[in-house]
């Protein structure tokens, strides 16, 4: 390794390319930028990958802190934290302002009628909290002021059986049911995946059943485990800084104090995802737009199907050409004509000047056209963007195959004594960068589709076109890697990545 310090800096925010990152901070990067990675890299993201145990510890610390301040049970503290994004300060503040209102909104107490003066006072609420109870009445704690003394028998409205008062439990709402009915009810709810949202059994009563009552009455280990698992899920989901890794069967929870649409990569299963919405990373598009786009693509999948062709005819000699690489700069094997796979235009016109292929030209007169023409135009526009979105997604996969073939060829070379793996490492670096750039390029299409016409869209499409051109150049050079000059390739990598970060810096809205 050339530079361990650099590797460390990078490994946190971009694990995917950990081992091939030395090209990234070359060139004009100055020390100031290196000290402030947020400014140098629009995708810079600080996060931690934590285990279930780590998170349990983290949450328990918050719970204990609140217990100490408010003198309440852990069970109650959890509910209050869950309802307030695990923000201790907010809970304490609300408690000091109006404890009763806090307990009512957290569904620990039923809403109080204005006539019920005693219970509307904060003092009454404080009393409830300090009783040491969790907001439910267990039989021994019933004491003198209960409606039914423990020795007198009482009818349970659910099982319709008469039992002694000491078999009855009630929440802060006073609705009282027998132990067996509560237990059976809890198990039914847990079976349906409900945990800390379990409410009172009485009709129209919204009061929440605290965790400790559930765990007091439910004794079957399977059900207790289930309850605790579901509760843990709810706790994590209610914490704004935590996300479950979406990787299959992965237990990791990603934590970040920056809640934005940045990419997190799980350190265990390597799954990358958008930290904000949990879907595939989608810069420069934001979370709502990508959701809209994916829904649209799913809805219109039939319309779009016909364009997903693997073969097209050469625009010059009309021979059938199959696309088996990721590069969209095609050369006809028959007549050697260079053309663009996307628009079938001459590749020469795609070069330096103005790459028009990515841009969709709106019909300027569309408002005066018939509904029918407008509908056709709308479909045409959608297909333009969809085709490019889909094509880059395919190119990504095809380029992955190219790399695999390359890996095998290099393996043979190394075995035959022609260089070492280290000598060929730059090629894999190049391929990694190409994938990263094309991924961003793919996600520029939904962004452009939903953009309003205007100078900002013009600028976006200009940058998109520039990025696209450099990516295809890079792909072309990698496919011909063994004959490409190393300096030339490195230069191309540098340009492509610069175009990518420039576009992201200008258009990726991640400000919190």
């Amino acid at each position: 390794m050339e530079s361990d310090i650099e590797m460390e800096l990078e490994s946190d925010n971009d694990g995917e390319y950990d081992d091939d990152y030395d090209y990234y901070n070359t060139g004009e990067d100055c020390d100031v930028e290196r000290l402030d990675p947020k400014r140098a890299d629009p995708e810079y993201f600080e996060y931690d990958c934590l285990t279930v145990e780590d998170i349990e510890k983290l949450l328990n610390e918050l719970v204990e802190k609140l217990n100490t301040i408010l003198q309440i049970t852990p069970s109650l503290a959890k509910v209050l934290l869950l309802e307030h994004q695990w923000n201790n300060t907010v809970v304490v503040e609300k408690y000091r302002q109006d404890a009763n209102a806090l307990l009512v909104t957290a569904r620990i107490k039923p809403p109080t009628s204005s006539a019920d003066a005693a219970s509307t006072s904060a003092a009454a609420a404080a009393q409830l909290l300090k009783m040491g109870s969790s907001g439910y009445k267990a039989p021994p704690a019933v004491g003198g002021n209960a409606n039914t003394p423990p020795y007198r028998s009482q009818m349970c409205p659910v099982c319709a059986s008469s039992q002694l008062g000491d078999k009855f439990y009630s929440l802060a709402c006073g609705h009282s049911f027998c132990k067996d009915c509560w237990t059976m009810y809890f198990e039914t709810q847990i079976f349906q995946g409900i945990s800390i949202q379990i409410g009172c059994m009485a009709p129209m009563c919204n009061v929440r059943v605290p965790e400790d009552l559930v765990l007091t009455l439910v004794t079957r280990p399977v059900m207790r485990d289930k309850y605790q698992q579901f509760a843990f899920k709810d706790y994590v989901k209610s914490h704004p800084e935590l996300r479950f890794c979406p990787g299959p069967n992965c237990q990791i929870i990603v934590q970040s104090s920056e809640i934005s649409a940045k990419r997190a990569i799980c350190k265990v299963c390597r799954t990358g995802f958008c930290f904000k919405c949990g879907m595939d990373y989608h810069a420069p598009t934001d979370c709502q737009v990508i959701k809209k786009w994916l829904t649209k693509c799913a809805d219109d999948s039939e319309t779009a199907n016909y364009i997903s062709a693997h073969t097209k005819d050469c625009p010059k000699c009309h021979i059938c050409i199959e696309k088996n690489g990721g590069c969209n700069h095609m050369q006809c094997f028959n007549c050697k004509h260079d053309f663009c796979w996307m628009c079938l235009g001459d590749w020469k016109t795609h070069g330096s000047e103005y790459y028009e292929c990515s841009r969709y030209k709106d019909n300027p007169n569309i408002a005066n056209e018939s509904v029918h023409v407008q509908a056709r135009e709308a479909l045409k526009k959608y297909l333009h963007y969809y085709e490019r979105w889909e094509n880059h997604s395919k190119s990504l996969k095809l380029e992955q195959q190219t790399i695999e073939r390359l890996r095998q060829r290099i393996n043979t070379k190394v075995m035959n004594g022609s260089g070492t793996w280290i000598d060929w490492q730059y090629l894999f670096n190049a391929a990694g960068l190409l994938a990263k750039c094309r991924y961003t390029l793919q996600y520029t299409y939904p962004y452009a589709y939903y953009m309003e016409a205007g100078s900002r869209k013009n600028l976006f499409e200009y940058q998109q076109a520039q990025l696209e051109a450099e990516i295809e150049n890079l792909s072309w050079k990698i496919e011909r890697a063994e004959t490409t000059d190393l300096g030339d390739l490195e230069n191309q990598m540098d340009i492509a990545e610069k175009r990518r970060t420039t576009l992201l810096k200008d258009f990726f809205p991640v400000a919190v």
Partner: protein
């Protein structure tokens, strides 16, 4: 078959001893969890004069889960579909184990008095109920005459 829970026995007894006006629920001879129900159309509703047959079944885990209820008689109503299924919160997420057959049937009777086209199950009916209530009510009357009145 397991023995009938005390709760079901009590409810059945009470339904027979103190029937709700306009509602008749009788357990099946062979299955005490299955009820033959008759609800008469409430006065001042488009269902007035109609006699509606329903079936009600208490599942194994009743009262932890709600009874299953369905109209057998055809009815033109925004919250009841062609198969007689009923869109009613207390039969779904608002079910509580402390609710009873009696309260459920009362809720269904109330639904006939006050249809709720904003929470529809039969979409075409609900649509008409919203855009042209007079016509929808006319249809409901017609269906009542046609399917729920015995000659």
């Amino acid at each position: 078959m397991s023995s009938l829970p005390r709760r079901i026995i009590k409810e059945t007894q009470r339904l027979m001893q103190e029937p709700v006006p306009g509602i008749n629920a009788i357990p099946d001879e062979n299955n005490a969890r299955y009820f033959h129900v008759i609800v008469t159309g409430p006065n001042d509703s488009p269902f007035e004069g109609g006699v509606f047959k329903l079936e009600l079944f208490l599942p194994e885990d009743y009262p932890m889960s709600a009874p299953k209820v369905r109209f057998i008689t055809k009815i033109y109503h925004p919250n009841i579909d062609r198969l007689g299924r009923i869109c009613l919160d207390v039969l779904k997420d608002k079910w509580s184990p402390a609710l009873q057959i009696r309260t459920i049937l009362l809720s269904i009777q109330a639904l006939l008095s006050a249809p709720n086209p904003d929470d529809p199950l039969a979409n075409d009916v609900a649509e008409l109920w919203k855009v042209n209530e007079a016509e929808a009510i006319r249809n409901a009357r017609e269906w009542t005459q046609k399917y729920a009145v015995e000659d």
